[in-house]
C-alpha cells in the first residue's frame, strides 16, 4: 500500500490566524456596543436626535471598516494585478478590515464621514499596502491614518463638535478630560481635573467624553483578560505600559502633594488603556522577543508621560506608539542575543529604570516650579491706560492691547494672532471678547467657546493675568 509523504510535525495546534482575528473582533464588540449606547441610545432617549443619529455610532464604525476593505480589494486588483482565485486568497488572508475598524474607534465621533473615509484609505494604502501588504508594515496602519486626519483636519473636526456628543455638551462641559487637564496651570487638583466630569467611577464606566473606543475602561480590562485567557495577545506589553505610566504619575503626583487619584486619573483618561491593549499589541508592529517586548512597553510608558506633559498635544499615546514602532527591529536584535550572563538583561533594564525615574522627577519638578505664575503669559508693554500682552494660544502667542481705566478693562484689541482661521472665527462670532469684558470680575466662571477651547481659554487667561497684575 502506498502512502503520501509530507514533512514536519504530524500534529498541529488548533490555533490559526483567523481564530486570532476572530477573538480580537469578539473582544471589541462590547466596546462598540457600549459606545452605541452612550452616543446613540442615550441621546435618543433625551430626544436630542432622531433614529439616524441613534444608529450613527454603528454607521460610523461600519463605514470605516467597509472603506478599508474595499480600498484593499481595489488596490490588489488594480495595482498588484491579482485576479480571481489569487484575489480571493489574498483578501481572505489579509484581514483588511482591521485597520479601518481601529481608525473608526480612535477618531472622534464627530468626524465628518468623508474625512473618516480619507483616513481609512490613507491607513490602508500608506500604512499597509505600500510597505508590502499584510505582515510587512513597520508602523501601525490605523495610527498612520489617524495621524494624517488629525494633522490635516483637526480644526474641521473640532468645529464639528470634536469628541463630544450633544448630551455631554449639555451636562458636562466642552472639552475632554485630558484637554481640560492640559489647560490647567500646574498640576491641578481633584476639583478642577476630575470633578467637572463626575468622579473616578464615571471614568471607569465610561460616561465621559471621548472617542468611540476609549471611554469604557472596564470593558477594555475585561477584553484584555479575555484575550490573555485565549492566548492571542502579547500580554506583557499592556501590563508593563500601564504600570509604567501609573508609577511615573504616582511619583509626579506625590512630588506635588497629590493623592492616588492623580495616577488613576492618568490611566483612565484618554486613549491609554485602549491604545495599550489594542494598538500597542498589534502583532505585526511589535517586537517578537521577550526582552524586546519588555523594553518596548517601558519606553512607551516613558514617552507617553513625556509627550503628555511637555508637548502641546494633550494625547501622548498615538505618537509614542508610532515612535516606538521605528525601534522594533533594534529591540528584536537585542532580545534575540544569547543571554550569556545576567548583565545582558540588567544593563538595558538599569538604563530604562534610570530614564523612568529621571523623566518622572523632571516632570514633577516642572509642576512644582510653575505653580505661581503662568509661563504662557508675557507683559510686553505696560502704561497707565493700556497693557500690551501676549498669551500662548493654540497656534502661538496672541498679542493684544488691553485698555484699562480705573482698574477695569474697557477694551480689548487683538493685534496679532496665529490661530487657525476656523477656530478663531468661532471666538469672534460669539462675541466672546464682549462677554469677557462684561464678566471681568468673575472670569473663572466664564465658559469657554466649545470647538475653540484652547483659543478662548487663552483669551480668558489673558484677562485673568492682567487683572492679577493690576491688583498688585
Amino acid at each position: 500500500m502506498e502512502f503520501n509523504t509530507y514533512k514536519g510535525p504530524y500534529i498541529k495546534s488548533p490555533n490559526k490566524t483567523n481564530k486570532i482575528m476572530l477573538h480580537l473582533v469578539v473582544a471589541l464588540l462590547p466596546i462598540i456596543l457600549f459606545s452605541f449606547y452612550k452616543n446613540g441610545v442615550v441621546l435618543y432617549k433625551h430626544n436630542l436626535t432622531d433614529t439616524y443619529g441613534m444608529f450613527y455610532p454603528l454607521i460610523f464604525v461600519f463605514v470605516g471598516t467597509f472603506t478599508s476593505f474595499i480600498t484593499e480589494t481595489i488596490y490588489t486588483y488594480l495595482v498588484l494585478k491579482k485576479k480571481n482565485k489569487d484575489l480571493i486568497n489574498s483578501i481572505k488572508n489579509s484581514y483588511s478590515f482591521l485597520p479601518g475598524l481601529f481608525v473608526s474607534l480612535v477618531l472622534p465621533l464627530n468626524t465628518p464621514l468623508p474625512i473618516l473615509i480619507i483616513g481609512a484609505v490613507v491607513a490602508i494604502i500608506v500604512g499597509k499596502m505600500l510597505y508590502g501588504g499584510f505582515g510587512q508594515n513597520i508602523f501601525n496602519p490605523a495610527l498612520i491614518g489617524c495621524l494624517f486626519v488629525l494633522t490635516c483636519y483637526g480644526s474641521v473636526i473640532n468645529s464639528n463638535g470634536g469628541y463630544i456628543n450633544k448630551y455631554e455638551l449639555d451636562t458636562i462641559g466642552s472639552a475632554t478630560p485630558l484637554t481640560n487637564y492640559h489647560m490647567i496651570d500646574g498640576i491641578g487638583n481633584y476639583d478642577k481635573v476630575v470633578k467637572p466630569y463626575g468622579d473616578l467611577k464615571d471614568f471607569l464606566f465610561g460616561m465621559i467624553p471621548g472617542t468611540v473606543g476609549e471611554t469604557c475602561s472596564i470593558l477594555i480590562i475585561v477584553a484584555y483578560i479575555y484575550l490573555v485567557l485565549k492566548k492571542v495577545i502579547k500580554w506583557k506589553i499592556p501590563l508593563i505600559y500601564v504600570s509604567t505610566v501609573f508609577v511615573m504619575t504616582l511619583i509626579i503626583g506625590s512630588m506635588n502633594g497629590e493623592g492616588i487619584w492623580y495616577p488613576t486619573f492618568n490611566i483612565l483618561s484618554g486613549g491609554l488603556l485602549f491604545g495599550a491593549v489594542f494598538m500597542a499589541t498589534d502583532p505585526v508592529t511589535s517586537p517578537t522577543t521577550c526582552l524586546g517586548q519588555v523594553i518596548y512597553a517601558f519606553c512607551l510608558g516613558i514617552l507617553t508621560v513625556l509627550f503628555r506633559n511637555y508637548t502641546s498635544a494633550p494625547e501622548g499615546v498615538l505618537t509614542s506608539i508610532l515612535t516606538m514602532n521605528m525601534f522594533v527591529v533594534l529591540l528584536d536584535r537585542l532580545g534575540s542575543k544569547k543571554k550569556e550572563s545576567i548583565m545582558q538583561i540588567l544593563i538595558p533594564m538599569g538604563i530604562i529604570t534610570c530614564l523612568l525615574l529621571g523623566v518622572s522627577l523632571l516632570v514633577g519638578n516642572k509642576y512644582i516650579n510653575s505653580d505661581s505664575s503662568d509661563s504662557k503669559f508675557k507683559i510686553i508693554e505696560k502704561k497707565d491706560n493700556y497693557y500690551v500682552v501676549s498669551q500662548v494660544g493654540n497656534g502661538g502667542p496672541i498679542k493684544a492691547k488691553i485698555y484699562i481705566k480705573d482698574n477695569e478693562i474697557t477694551k480689548i484689541k487683538i493685534i496679532e494672532n496665529n490661530e487657525t482661521e476656523n477656530y478663531y472665527k468661532l471666538v469672534t462670532n460669539k462675541n466672546y471678547i464682549k462677554t469677557l469684558i462684561d464678566n471681568q470680575n468673575n472670569l473663572d466662571k466664564v465658559d469657554t467657546v466649545s470647538g475653540a477651547t484652547i483659543s478662548s481659554t487663552a483669551l480668558k487667561k489673558m484677562c485673568i493675568n492682567v487683572k492679577k497684575d493690576m491688583e498688585k
Partner: protein, 212 residues
C-alpha cells in the same frame, strides 16, 4: 534642442538624478517662491556652465573642485547682491536658500560632469535644460502644495515691488475637506515629492537597463 529636452526629461535633476532636493522641499510653500528659485538656479547654472567650459582646459584635475566652487559662489554672491538691491522682499523670502545654491548639488554636479568636458555651446544648452527641468518640477510642486494647502495660487506678490501688480488667484473648493493643512508643512512636501517621483518614473517606463 535635444539637450534641453534631455535636461527636462531624461536627466531631470530632481526627479531622476535626485539632486537639489532640500531646496525643492523647502522653498515650494507657494507658487511664486518656487518659480523665482527656479529662475535663480537656471541663471546660475547657465553662467557657471559657460565660465567652467571656457576655463576647463586650464584647470588641473586636483584643483578643479575648489576652483569651480569659487566660480559658483562668486556668481551666487553677485545674484544675491542684485536681488537684495532691487527686489528686497524676495531676497528676504528666499532667505538662506539663496546662498545654498552654492552647494546645490545640481550646479556643482553639472559643472564637473558636463561643463568641464563639453564645448561652450553644449554646456550652455545643458545648463539651460537642467535649469528648466528644475524650474518645471519646482513649479509643479509649488502649485500642488499651494492649491491643496492654501486654496490660492500666488503668481506675483513679493515681486510686486518691481512689477507693480499683485496677482493672487483664489480657488474655492466649497468643501470641508480643503484646505488640507499638511501640505503647508514639511511633511506635505515630502509626500508630494514622493508621489511625483513615483508617477514620473512610472510614466517614463522605469527601464531597468537604462544607464544613468
Amino acid at each position: 534642442m535635444k539637450r534641453i529636452i534631455n535636461g527636462i526629461v531624461n536627466e531631470n535633476p530632481v526627479l531622476v538624478l535626485l539632486l537639489g532636493l532640500c531646496s525643492a522641499l523647502a522653498i515650494t510653500n507657494n507658487f511664486e517662491n518656487s518659480y523665482i528659485m527656479g529662475i535663480c538656479v537656471t541663471i546660475v547654472l547657465i553662467c557657471s556652465n559657460l565660465i567652467v567650459s571656457l576655463i576647463s582646459k586650464y584647470v588641473t584635475k586636483n584643483v578643479e573642485i575648489p576652483v569651480y566652487i569659487l566660480i559658483i559662489s562668486t556668481l551666487v554672491t553677485v545674484l544675491e547682491i542684485l536681488l537684495k538691491e532691487y527686489v528686497n522682499p524676495l531676497y528676504k523670502v528666499l532667505g538662506i536658500y539663496l546662498p545654498l545654491i552654492v552647494v546645490n548639488c545640481i550646479v556643482l554636479g553639472r559643472a564637473l560632469s558636463v561643463a568641464s568636458k563639453e564645448n561652450v555651446k553644449n554646456s550652455v544648452l545643458d545648463g539651460l535644460g537642467v535649469g528648466l527641468g528644475y524650474t518645471v518640477v519646482l513649479m509643479v510642486l509649488g502649485l500642488i502644495r499651494e492649491v491643496l494647502g492654501n486654496e490660492t495660487i500666488t503668481i506675483m506678490k513679493e515681486i510686486s515691488n518691481i512689477t507693480h501688480h499683485e496677482i493672487i488667484l483664489k480657488i474655492n473648493f466649497h468643501s470641508d475637506l480643503f484646505p488640507i493643512n499638511i501640505f503647508n508643512k514639511p511633511a506635505g512636501a515630502f509626500i508630494t515629492l514622493a508621489c511625483l517621483l513615483a508617477l514620473f518614473n512610472y510614466i517614463r517606463g522605469g527601464n531597468k537597463n537604462e544607464s544613468n
